[in-house]
């Protein structure tokens, strides 16, 4: 079973202090550590697991500048066979444009499954995968937490809200957006990444794809980025650990819990 997996490099933001850029429509990225989008890491692992049990190949694709090849080398080290980087140049991209670019490259490849992450931890849009599916005319499912190929079909599990999953059967070829926790992504060593350097990595400039101006025009635009509105927030308890603990026990008891 041949699997294509789409990956994106994003800044690591959970522990970072974000600064709004001078234009006010993005963030300053210079001091941020770049890494593979968390959801995409699970998607790569899932693609490699499918290859290991079913045979076939895994192709990893990203859109980005040469620095974003790091995420492709990582995917190759995890077990992908080849990689493609599409260079967007200076073009402004939104989820719609990204899906059109990916579709143009993927339509000429051999595959049974296309995997993406549910969303990327920069714009948190969650639209590229399913837009790509519709453009390619593929069946699709979002927020997938289980994939078991069964011939021309796959039995899939989708995570719904409130502790409920939905199991269904989907016709292949299909596109699935992969949720975190579906598997345990393998560890990647520096040595592994170095060894994967021998694998095939193709670079395609967007200009070579012959996409129409309409397909390359973003449908949405960020007018302004701003900090979350102020709230009154928590009453902070300061002091050494022992006095903080005493205060917390007092609060918990006051709220009617006996401890």
């Amino acid at each position: 079973m041949d699997v294509i997996v789409c990956v994106k490099q994003v800044p690591e933001v959970i522990d970072a202090d974000l600064k709004i850029s001078r234009e006010g429509t993005g963030i300053e990225k210079e001091d941020l550590v770049m890494h593979i989008n968390d959801w995409d890491n699970y998607a790569v692992e899932e693609a490699v697991c499918i290859k290991e049990t079913q045979g076939g190949t895994v192709t990893a694709i990203t859109i980005g500048d040469d620095e974003s090849e790091d995420v492709l080398r990582r995917a190759l080290a995890m077990g992908a066979d080849k990689a493609i980087r599409i260079d967007p140049g200076e073009r402004e991209l939104d989820g719609f444009v990204i899906s059109k670019i990916l579709a143009k490259v993927i339509k000429d490849l051999e595959y049974h499954l296309v995997l993406t992450g549910v969303q990327a931890d920069d714009d948190n849009s969650g639209m590229v995968g399913i837009m790509l599916a519709e453009t390619l005319g593929l069946s699709h499912a979002a927020v997938v937490t289980g994939v078991e190929p069964e011939g021309d079909l796959a039995r899939i599990r989708v995570e719904l809200e409130g502790g409920m999953d939905e199991v269904s059967r989907i016709q292949l070829p299909s596109l699935l957006t992969i949720q975190t926790g579906i598997n345990e992504p393998r560890y990647v060593s520096i040595m592994g990444i170095r060894k994967a350097g021998k694998k095939e990595l193709t670079v395609i400039p967007v200009a070579n794809l012959g996409l129409s101006e309409d397909d390359l025009t973003p449908r949405t635009r960020i007018e302004e980025v701003f900090l979350p509105p102020e709230t009154t927030g928590a009453e902070m308890i300061e002091g050494d650990a022992a006095s903080v603990a005493a205060e917390l026990i007092k609060i918990i008891k006051e709220k009617g819990v006996s401890i």
């Binding site: 948190n124 949405t220 918990i252 819990v257």
Partner: protein
């Protein structure tokens, strides 16, 4: 601005809360601009949801068919595409749920209408919509505009708009619609729902929850917090990253994909406070958060906060309780 169409979401015989939240916000906008509000219901035969929706919209367009008893993105997309092409509503709103995320981007490509997802606010300015979205894990907000278009699609975040209890009004019309005869067979077929929340403990019944997040760092560290929870007579719960790493089973998880809890006290240790987690603790009496990052979003919703290492605080709590 023009008319707003809201796509109802229902599951296992119940209209989901997000549907009423969308109708509430859409009605507010429709009133301001004097436009009609339409609810779209795709459901199985005799689902009986239409009257409930009619109390919150000017009219309900009902598409009933056995094949629509459970959500199917192929069928929803085909039917909604035809409705949108024919009626050309100004905005069409869909829930930002797993099902909405499977439907809206496909519908956007099919109809050619632009889409903004996971909106926490929707406004109209100079005849065009403007939406507010969270980006970078909720650390920042963005104000987003659209390329000019005959119509616009949005998915709406659960909990962004909270209707008051008296959100019902004079019932609107219920209009049964024909299912297109030439609908293609869907490529995905429903098998079953699986309850993933059941397990040996029920976190929804606890008075005191001691809850751990990404800040726990390593699997080995869970034992020390479990010990604290036992000493306090508390139940251990957690946020998503702990379950994703397989460190605790899913029935411990608090949040949108886990459980909503309502303890008297919720003690959050090393939880950053992503909205998916916070949505699960709105029913908690008192929230106490311990996190070494003073800027962690959890402190925006907590009643009490401690900006310190969670293990230091946990050990001090254990010592105090042992001495008491």
């Amino acid at each position: 601005m023009g008319e707003i169409y809201v796509v109802a979401e229902h599951r296992k015989g119940e209209v989901r809360e997000i549907t009423f939240e969308m109708l509430f916000k859409a009605r507010e906008l429709c009133r301001t601009f004097s436009h009609r509000l339409t609810a779209l219901l795709l459901a199985g035969k005799d689902a009986g949801f239409a009257d409930d929706l009619a109390k919150r919209a000017d009219r309900v367009l009902v598409f009933e068919n056995d094949r629509l008893e459970t959500f199917n993105s192929d069928l929803h997309k085909e039917i909604l595409n035809r409705v949108i092409q024919k009626d050309q509503p100004f905005m069409t709103w869909i829930a930002h749920t797993s099902w909405g995320m499977d439907l809206a981007p496909a519908l956007s490509v099919k109809t050619g209408l632009p889409l903004a997802t996971d909106c926490v606010d929707i406004q109209a300015e100079d005849g065009r919509p403007i939406v507010i979205r969270q980006i970078y894990s909720g650390k920042l907000f963005s104000r987003v505009s659209f390329k000019e278009s005959p119509g616009y699609l949005m998915t709406v975040r659960s909990g962004a708009f909270l209707p008051p209890d008296d959100a019902e009004m004079e019932p609107g019309e219920v209009l049964k619609q024909d299912i297109p005869a030439d609908l293609a067979e869907p490529r995905k077929t429903f098998v079953e729902f699986v309850d993933t929340g059941a397990g040996e403990i029920d976190i929804t019944q606890a008075d005191l929850l001691v809850s751990i997040g990404r800040g726990i760092g390593e699997e080995e560290n869970i034992a020390t917090i479990r010990e604290l929870a036992d000493r306090m007579g508390a139940t251990l719960s957690c946020s998503r990253p702990v379950v994703d790493k397989n460190w605790l089973p899913k029935f411990h998880q608090v949040g949108t994909s886990g459980k909503s809890v309502r303890p008297k006290v919720y003690l959050a240790l090393g939880i950053s406070g992503a909205f998916q987690h916070v949505a699960g603790i709105t029913g908690a009496g008192t929230v106490i958060a311990v996190n070494k990052d003073r800027k962690a979003p959890i402190f925006r919703v907590a009643d009490y906060g401690v900006a310190d290492d969670l293990f230091k605080v946990a050990n001090a709590l254990k010592e105090k309780l042992a001495g008491a």
